[in-house]
């Protein structure tokens, strides 16, 4: 049975697209068949997968059509082996800005039901387009919420929870998969523990706080998106690279692969495993 997970929160820049693309990459590499549906008009995941200029990149046209009328999502882009990407982009702008449209009558679920043979479908959800958030949640079985540690990000949990309550009338089975702390500096151990304590207090027993925390690794995140690589791929590049000084001595321009790539890839691997475990338990 296909598991449909919406990755969403009420604030931008807290790791929705990064988490979606990274864990999709982990699952696909592990042999699961994964679909990523992007509802964000910005279409950042195309950069994460390195398919911005792919010939089948339609800037969200197919996804927008599915959202509006339930038409099949089409073939998508085979971004990696086992990983199909249904691109977001400018075609979703109109839906994101349509006043009065609530999205509660989501057709996206019908389009997802027509996808064949996928183990996991991940829906990357825009932070501010309420109707598209509702579309996403109306189509999903689970909600995964990435968040940063600051109060502004934590407050955004309320907004997405409200959206979830709103869609319960059309999708009563949707459940919280959990909250994942994202972009926490490894050196900031006090902040990390305080943030986890605060989050536990806020979430209570309503939403689980996932054990995995995704570390802040700006250089890796920057390079991943610039090169169209996933953290695990960046880590593999790094592990095969020559030492910086050895390369210089040998007269080779060294590859400046960030050293944090392996750690970050490890975090995402752990997160993917934790999510999978929770999905199995829920199932």
């Amino acid at each position: 049975m296909t598991q449909v997970v919406a990755v969403a929160t009420g604030k931008g820049g807290v790791g929705k697209s990064s988490v979606t693309s990274a864990i999709a990459g982990v699952y696909a590499a592990d042999g699961l068949k994964v679909a990523v549906i992007e509802l964000d008009a910005q279409g950042d995941i195309a950069d994460d997968f390195g398919v911005r200029d792919h010939p089948d990149q339609d800037e969200g046209t197919a996804v927008a059509s599915s959202v509006k009328s339930g038409t099949p999502l089409g073939a998508g882009i085979l971004a990696r082996p086992n990983l199909t990407y249904f691109a977001g982009g400018e075609a979703l702008e109109e839906l994101a800005r349509t006043p009065g449209w609530t999205g509660l009558d989501s057709k996206l679920r019908a389009a997802i039901d027509q996808l064949d043979g996928y183990d996991i479908v991940l829906i990357d959800t825009p932070p501010s387009a309420e109707a598209l958030q509702q579309v996403s949640l109306a189509a999903a079985q689970y909600l995964l919420i990435p968040t940063a540690v600051d109060n502004s990000s934590l407050r955004a949990l309320y907004a997405i929870s409200y959206r979830m309550v709103d869609v319960e009338q059309v999708n009563p089975d949707i459940a919280f998969l959990g909250v994942v702390l994202w972009n926490v500096p490894t050196a900031a151990s006090r902040i990390r523990s305080e943030a986890r304590a605060t989050l536990n207090e806020i979430l209570g027993d309503v939403v689980p706080l996932l054990d995995t925390t995704i570390r802040s690794a700006f250089a890796t995140a920057y390079e991943c998106r610039r090169r169209g690589m996933l953290p695990q791929e960046m880590a593999d590049t790094h592990s095969g690279a020559q030492s910086f000084w050895k390369a210089l001595k040998a007269g080779i321009v060294p590859d400046r692969t960030p050293t944090s790539a392996q750690s970050l890839a490890g975090d995402y691997h752990q997160l993917a495993a934790e999510i999978l475990e929770r999905l199995k338990v829920s199932r």
């Binding site: 009065g100 009558d105 309320y158 929870s161 319960e168």
Partner: protein, 214 residues
């Protein structure tokens, strides 16, 4: 030396469970409003999806008196259609409307007027179901049901080709959003509703809509 301001205490965020429970209560109490945009001067050639307001969950008691439509007589309507004035005070451009076609609350701008009918939720459900089944707009379903009611009330003359009883149908696909039912009725249909109200001895159009969709 100026005195130092006291250090503020860290902001405490409310438990999510409380917020979710509160939201669930709000959603449960949220009225289902049936908005009708009434043209004042001219009859639109095509029905237009009326704007849908995210109606706030609780209506202030004084707001009810500002409704253009009034409450139905049915006793089982505690919340439905009690659309507060705030929901009507902000004119929202209709997505599919021409630029000149905007709604207003209680002032005439030469365009149209928004009326809120208060009907039981089951009436809205029936309206949606019939629209889905017949692949018709909610507006056309409503006038069809009104026409049916009209026929049972009195014997009507043979309907003209483009009409259902004294009501005219103008579209054929269910384009209105489903969360809130926003529909646009022609001036002729609204006049026919008034006439039917009088004939059936109903207090207002809301009661008529509720009766037609009961």
């Amino acid at each position: 030396m100026s005195p130092r301001l006291p250090t503020p205490a860290p902001v405490q965020l409310a438990p999510l469970g409380n917020r979710i429970a509160s939201r669930r209560r709000q959603v449960a109490e949220r009225p289902t409003a049936l908005h009708v945009v009434e043209p004042e001067e001219q009859t639109p050639a095509e029905p237009v999806i009326a704007p849908v307001d995210d109606t706030p969950p609780a209506a202030a008691p004084e707001a009810a008196s500002q409704l253009v439509g009034t409450q139905p007589e049915a006793p089982d309507l505690p919340t439905v259609g009690e659309s507060p004035a705030t929901a009507q005070a902000e004119p929202v451009p209709t997505p599919a409307a021409k630029p000149a076609q905007v709604t207003r609350s209680d002032q005439s701008d030469g365009g149209s007027t928004r009326i809120t009918f208060a009907v039981p939720p089951r009436c809205i459900e029936k309206l949606r179901r019939l629209a889905r089944q017949a692949n018709m707009t909610h507006a056309d379903v409503l006038v069809t049901e009104l026409a049916r009611l009209s026929k049972t009330a009195t014997v009507q003359p043979e309907p003209e080709p483009a009409t259902v009883g004294e009501f005219e149908l103008t579209a054929s696909t269910p384009r209105e959003p489903l969360a809130n039912v926003g529909i646009r009725l022609t001036a002729r249909n609204l006049a026919a509703m008034d006439s039917l109200c009088e004939r059936l001895g109903l207090a207002n159009r809301s009661a008529l809509v509720a009766k037609a969709l009961a």
